[in-house]
């Protein structure tokens, strides 16, 4: 893990050995936990788009919510701009909250249907005193312009808008406070591809213009190929592999990554050739309450060995910057 810390001078977010457990009752006196995030180390450098990919139940959203302070970590630390923020949201300073924003997956439930767009966008402006009271309307219009919506949208209710437009409002709300770091939690997975393309393009434009850092959570590897600078794969609360995008897609190392890549339905022959051959997806994701011993992927792994059933593998740097947590490489 040393080379991760070596890049610390430009690191904006560092998550160390983060664990988020949820109690789910007891079995024979011993408390049971869902280990949603189980010992995650992750660094995000300033100005990059870190793609965090995993299937449902992998803990990617829990990780994001823990960073945001929606859940308190069970163990480990979250360091944002050199400041330890592994405390509940109520004890975080206003400036941290201003710099750290999130866009949720479903704009239908993250925007209040009883408020107008204007009310939705005003709140962060007031709380963080971004502009004077008399300039608020002007700023709301500016935010709408930023996401390419006409000014009269401020009188609309989110209910009367399409899914794509609603997500634009969510993005405008997140960027209202001029944050430095934005977590995007599957912002386009509820939308059609033609709308997704528009939103992604806008997010990329904004990232460049405002020098933002994104932690982009998704289950779509093809999307990550096009926008991320680095990709991290999560499986059952742990990180399996992380590498710069080019390297990641050129030589995926972890058997789970290869299984994921080979499962993606693609639309051209060139893409078909990129998919790892002869990896057939088998088995299902085990319940996070009952994680198998050893490597949590061993039940589905085509390259399973004896050691995988007993010993949990550790992260190794297989290539410079390319980390993988698998016994095949340690």
């Amino acid at each position: 893990m040393n080379s991760i810390t070596a890049a610390a001078e430009e690191t904006i977010l560092r998550v160390q050995n983060l664990k988020t457990y949820f109690p789910v009752g007891k079995s024979g006196g011993t408390p049971l936990f869902v280990k949603a995030v189980d010992g995650v180390n992750l660094t995000v450098k300033k100005g990059e788009i870190m793609g965090l990919v995993g299937e449902s139940g992998s803990g990617k959203s829990t990780l994001a919510y823990t960073v945001m302070g929606i859940y308190s970590p069970t163990e480990g630390s979250i360091i944002f701009k050199g400041q330890d923020i592994s405390v509940p949201s109520s004890r975080r300073s206003l400036s941290v909250k201003k710099d750290l924003q999130i866009v949720f997956q479903d704009p239908g439930s993250s925007l209040n249907p009883r408020q107008s767009v204007r009310q939705i966008l005003e709140l962060p402006l007031r709380v963080h005193r971004i502009v004077d009271r008399k300039n608020i309307e002007e700023k709301v219009v500016e935010l709408l312009r930023m996401v390419e919506l006409p000014p009269h949208y401020m009188y609309k209710s989110p209910v009367s808008m399409g899914g794509g437009e609603r997500q634009m409002i969510s993005i405008a709300r997140a960027l209202a406070t001029n944050p430095q770091f934005v977590i995007l939690d599957e912002p386009t997975s509820a939308l059609d591809v033609s709308i997704q393309a528009k939103i992604i393009n806008m997010l990329l434009k904004l990232q460049e213009k405002k020098e933002l850092t994104y932690l982009f959570i998704t289950h779509d590897l093809s999307l990550m190929r096009n926008i991320a600078t680095r990709v991290t794969i999560m499986y059952l609360g742990k990180i399996c592999e992380t590498a710069p995008t080019e390297e990641f897609f050129r030589s995926p190392l972890h058997p789970y990554t290869r299984m994921l890549l080979s499962s993606i339905p693609v639309v051209s022959e060139e893409e078909e050739e990129l998919k790892p051959k002869k990896v057939v997806s088998t088995g299902e994701i085990p319940s996070p309450v009952n994680v198998p011993p050893g490597c949590s992927f061993h039940l589905r792994c085509p390259e399973r060995r004896e050691v995988c059933m007993e010993v949990d593998p550790w992260m190794v740097e297989a290539e410079p910057g390319h980390f993988v947590r698998c016994h095949l490489y340690s």
Binding site: E55, K198, S263, P265, V266, E271
Partner: protein, 331 residues
């Protein structure tokens, strides 16, 4: 208009219109759908949310909501119009001819009955109507569950849907759809609610079974990638009508309709190369849909004729049909 002179055609949907009665008036959702399925053919129906894919397929089984009306069109199943059938006849189609797999397996299965109970019912009421003994029914159920690669069928039959994972439930739904012989299987986004590795398994399973049993398949999906892997022929749907259809290989080699092109461009590629612009605007309001070609407000190539007249689906060669004046060269 697709000319049907094929003898082995199972399902032929002709100029189907479906409207929904709402407080704001009639929502004119389907605006002349033409679709044909041949014996043993795997057909993909591709389009974005709200384009009428599911409405089309629901009208085939006559399971539309009560506020739906069908002002025009025919759905011929072996030459007989499903829309004009008496309830006894349509039930025969549902129990012997066509079966359907729904998008959300947890909504398709009743949570308060065991898989066994639900499956036995399907077997009891489907097929030729011959009375079957309890043992025969169970044997068929166990065989079907084995066919979808679920180990330990006896245990599954005793479980409730809530005790199974999403992928498992979808396999059970597939088992129910194929447990008695059907000619046509309609799969409405069977993998959409599942994770990508599980989706891949379910799709492979479905394709294998359909091929093994010689059934025809209509695969409804919003993903061109899924359609490419699963089907022989693709129908691209936009705002209630088919805008383009061709054999899958031909469609991906030579897409023609501006909507198909925009859709294909919008798909992020595994090869990289950045993101396309997407398609301007959004799907129309069906209460007052645009005149002429319904795609014209979003089309880069729209000319005057497109505003006034709806382009027909015309053959451009190799069984490739496109509904666009621009492609037909008559603008």
């Amino acid at each position: 208009m697709i000319v049907n002179n094929e003898k082995d055609c199972i399902l032929d949907i002709r100029n189907l219109h479906v409207w929904y009665r709402t407080y704001g008036g009639f929502a004119e959702v389907l605006d002349g759908v033409n679709l044909m399925v041949k014996k043993g053919e795997k057909v993909g129906l591709v389009g974005e949310a709200g384009c009428g894919k599911t409405t089309t397929m629901r009208s085939v089984l006559r399971i539309l909501p009560e506020n739906a009306v069908v002002p025009k069109g025919e759905i011929l199943f072996h030459g007989q119009d499903i829309l004009k059938m008496k309830s006894q006849e349509i039930n025969k189609v549902r129990t012997q001819g066509i079966s359907m797999i729904f998008q959300e397996p947890s909504a398709a299965l009743n949570p308060v009955f065991t898989i066994g109970t639900q499956m036995f019912d399907v077997i009891r009421y489907s097929g030729s109507g011959k009375a079957k003994s309890k043992d025969e029914i169970k044997e068929l159920a166990v065989k079907a569950i084995r066919e979808v690669y679920i180990p330990d069928p006896e245990r599954i039959l005793k479980s409730y849907p809530g005790q199974l994972s999403g992928g498992m439930k979808q396999r059970v739904c597939i088992a129910m759809a194929i447990v008695t012989d059907r000619e046509l299987l309609i799969a409405d986004e069977p993998g959409t609610s599942l994770d990508v590795t599980i989706q891949d398994q379910v799709h492979r399973l479905l394709r294998g079974l359909v091929e093994k049993k010689g059934m025809s398949l209509i695969m409804i999906t919003h993903s061109l990638g899924v359609a490419r892997e699963m089907t022989d022929r693709i129908y691209v749907m936009y705002a209630g009508s088919i805008v383009e259809t061709a054999e899958t290989k031909v469609l991906f080699k030579d897409p023609m309709h501006p909507y198909t092109l925009g859709l294909l461009e919008s798909v992020p590629r595994l090869t990289g190369g950045g993101m396309a612009e997407g398609i301007y605007g959004r799907i129309p309001n069906y209460l007052s849909p645009p005149q002429g070609c319904r795609f014209h407000p979003r089309c880069r190539l729209a000319a005057e004729r497109c505003f006034e007249e709806k382009p027909p689906l015309m053959d451009v060669g190799e069984g490739h049909y496109v509904a666009c004046f621009w492609v037909q060269g008559v603008i």
